[in-house]
Amino acid sequence: MRDIKKIVLLSLGIVLLIIVPFMGEYITYLIGLALLFGIAALALNVLLGYSGLLSFGHALFFGGGAYSVALLMKHYGIYSAEVLFPVGIIFVALLSLAVGLICVRHTRVYFTMLTLAISELFYALALKLRSITGGDDGIRISKISLFGYEISSISEYYYVILLTFFLSVIILRTILHSPFGLTIQAIRDNDNRVKFAGIEVMKYRLMAFVISGVFSGIAGAVYGPLIGHVSPDDTLSILLSGEFVAMTILGGYTTFIGPIVGAFAFTFLKAFISSAIVYWYLVFGALIVGLVICMPTGIVGEMVKRMVRWGF
């Protein structure tokens, strides 16, 4: 079992690293998009799957990352990724700390409503502060460079995305398999009992919230230059928050890799179905309904269940 897993991961790594950049610009773009959504869905799952908190406002952190990069470009003329991304991460860390301090005092539907309301607040700000954010037109991103080298094609930028993805996955996996990761799962299962194990619930929820926000922000920061454009509807909308939740549930929130699989399935389905018919959200809605009824643990959750049944 271990060996099979290793072989699968290794071959996936080779495909992503060597083959994808030569599959044509559109496929490379789509995979880059799926990788970034994968980071965002993984980050959301730190809250949903591991902490038992459903955020319906995670586009706020994704958009926070995207806008901090875009605003630095527009207003300060900074185009170096090595400056933009770290500044974006720091901004999102502060943002998620502030939002987290408000939200983690509550759980269940109250937590969900708070995340939704606060993200809507920022969506409205991005729309209305036209002189700073460009309103609904957003901000165009024309170029980006890395240590003085100007990145000129999608297949070059793809490697920036891939590196970000690998680093994020490794860091998140390490965090979730650590004593901290176990502690937040205990809080998810019984947030009253953990107090009698000497654990301060709010502190750990806040840490999980910030970790989740930061990695959503990282995905958002890298997203802008890929799309070439940052707008409220693309990066801050409630629709995107919902899509992150959908990806996570589609892939399966009970496993670590589920959200990545969900992000890939979602991105490709959306691209292909919306190029064939205009009613993507009709198909998407039906898909989610079917999924929740037939496979509540998502694609990966279902696969694991079947493999256990077949005796792997």
Binding site: F180, V194, K195, A197, G198, M207
Partner: protein, 243 residues
């Protein structure tokens, strides 16, 4: 010097005087049983000492430090742990992880963001050892039978290596055949690690055999206090067994 001191503790729920002016003290390593009919305030007393409830009036001291209004997690850090009447465990985690959460917390590892394999193995070994002492298999907690769930709850409290542990009916729901073995195991750990305990119990034989002292409660008050001979007191028998 007493380990725990409770002074004039009161907790009312509307008309119900759950705990009504209780004063008591417990020495280090002492095993005290609290008995009494249903609704006599035993569990409320445990809730007040562990911090699950804050008293209406009165004060609680632990090692001469006032803890009356301290939140539960801070009391744990001082050395007070508890188990629950109905197993209160992390259902989706394995029995091993249930224990490890407590040991990580005790060692201050809970906010470590990576798996230090040496420390991790140490904690794991300690947890496995404790599971073996209690005869609990390593399994997802929700799949364990009631007896094991109950023991896991107690083991989670003891893995914190407290100075004082509050055990709320540790043998409730455990079959009569297994009860002796379970209580012997628990008392064995308490005695060997010199952990003081307040044990809320129904089973009179268990109480009589192992306690250093027995406290009989009725209507939120301490009715009698003393050695096992007080269980023969007529007034006590009337309350506990009924007339």
């Amino acid at each position: 010097m007493g380990l725990l001191k409770v002074e004039n503790l009161k907790k009312y729920f509307g008309e119900v005087h759950a705990v009504d002016d209780i004063t008591m003290a417990i020495e280090g390593g002492e095993l005290v049983s609290v008995v009494g009919p249903n609704g006599s305030g035993k569990t409320t007393l445990v809730n007040l000492i562990s911090g699950a409830l804050i008293p209406d009036s009165g004060r609680i001291f632990f090692e001469n430090k006032e803890i009356t209004k301290l939140p539960p997690h801070r009391r744990v850090k001082l050395g007070i742990a508890r188990s629950f009447q109905i197993p209160y465990i992390y259902e989706n985690l394995t029995s091993l992880d249930n224990i490890m959460v407590s040991i990580f917390s005790r060692n201050g590892f809970s906010n470590v963001f990576y798996k230090d394999s040496k420390k991790y193995e140490m904690v794991r070994d300690e947890a496995i050892n404790l599971l073996e002492i209690f005869g609990i298999p390593i399994k997802v907690a929700r799949e364990l039978p009631h007896g094991h769930r109950k023991l896991l709850d107690v083991a989670m409290a003891l893995s914190l290596k407290p100075k004082l542990v509050l055990l709320d009916e540790p043998t409730a729901g455990i079959s009569i055949e297994e009860r002796d073995e379970v209580i012997n195991t628990i008392v064995g750990v308490l005695r060997s690690q010199k952990i003081a305990a307040i044990v809320v119990e129904h089973d009179m034989e268990v109480v009589a055999e192992h306690s250093d002292r027995i406290v009989v409660m009725n209507d939120g008050k301490v009715l009698k206090e003393g050695g096992k001979e007080i269980l023969d007191n007529e007034e006590v028998r009337k309350i506990l067994i009924g007339d």
